[in-house]
Symmetry: D3
Subunit: 67 residues, 6 copies
């Protein structure tokens, strides 16, 4: 009964892409560890770029410089 | 000083229901472990059904089939 | 299909107490939100007192002063 | 490669304040543990006051009484 | 720069299986969302069966009944 | 009443270093957001290098190559 939490920046992941993440990570846990998919939970958190930091600055700042 | 994180799908839990969850889980920690309610935190995360997976598919997909 | 994460300091909670937390929080989600207990997960994390801070110091330090 | 998750109530933290949290916590991990800032992640979650409980009631309720 | 947290019961996952989970979930994020693997973190938490509840009881209790 | 969770690899952080992280991050929240330190929680999770992945492989594997 695994629990998986995927955190990504909120930058337009579509419903279809999120569905693929859910299916893919569930299949992975079945294949590698023989887990039961029926009790495998996946939660995707989409985080605003202002609220995600890397290298000491927000992703918003990183993105503005590289554009 | 316990910390409790409750994650549920975002499907219309009311302010009153969330207040009951907070009170209930705090009382439980006081009763079972003698914890101090003043330093007991409860955070409720409501997750979009597109972003919650079970059985390899999103709750949105599960709900659409059962309706 | 709620997911609950309870974090407490590692200070001797017994197997019976942990079982009571699991049952209590599951019942609460059934009572307040009508959730299905079969797909309700509860994870208890027990954290070393050196690794838990409150008021700017570790619980180890807080406990040593009050004893 | 540390990962830091800061959870605060959603009560108007500005983009500048969040940037300062990201920089400050990253610097702290560099100074104390010699971590590489390039692989230091910080995620800030802002939680609605209805969804954050302390002392057995929501922060919304606490705030309404003290105002 | 995704962050993935996989939580499983502590029941003997090997170093090789954990390596496969890390590789698999990283590949998935590259394939589905075009994420950079270099800044993709995966953390696996292995939780004692006494500390994981499902259906209102611990996995320890569930396992003892089915054996 | 902020809650901060710091996750680092388990590679020998001392009690003193962890105390500094707790004090530093609490001070930061007081300085930047005017939070009350008495209800500021910090939890440090130390994760085995086998259980932390970056770039599609475990930190154990990364470390073995660079040594």
């Amino acid at each position: 009964m695994p629990f998986v939490n995927i955190r990504i920046t909120k930058e337009g992941a579509t419903k279809e892409q999120k569905e693929k993440l859910i299916t893919g990570v569930t299949d992975l846990l079945v294949d590698v560890l023989g887990k039961n998919p029926k009790t495998t939970f996946v939660i995707i958190d989409e985080v605003e770029t202002d609220n995600w930091g890397i290298g000491g600055e927000s992703v918003t700042t990183v993105r503005s410089r590289s554009s």
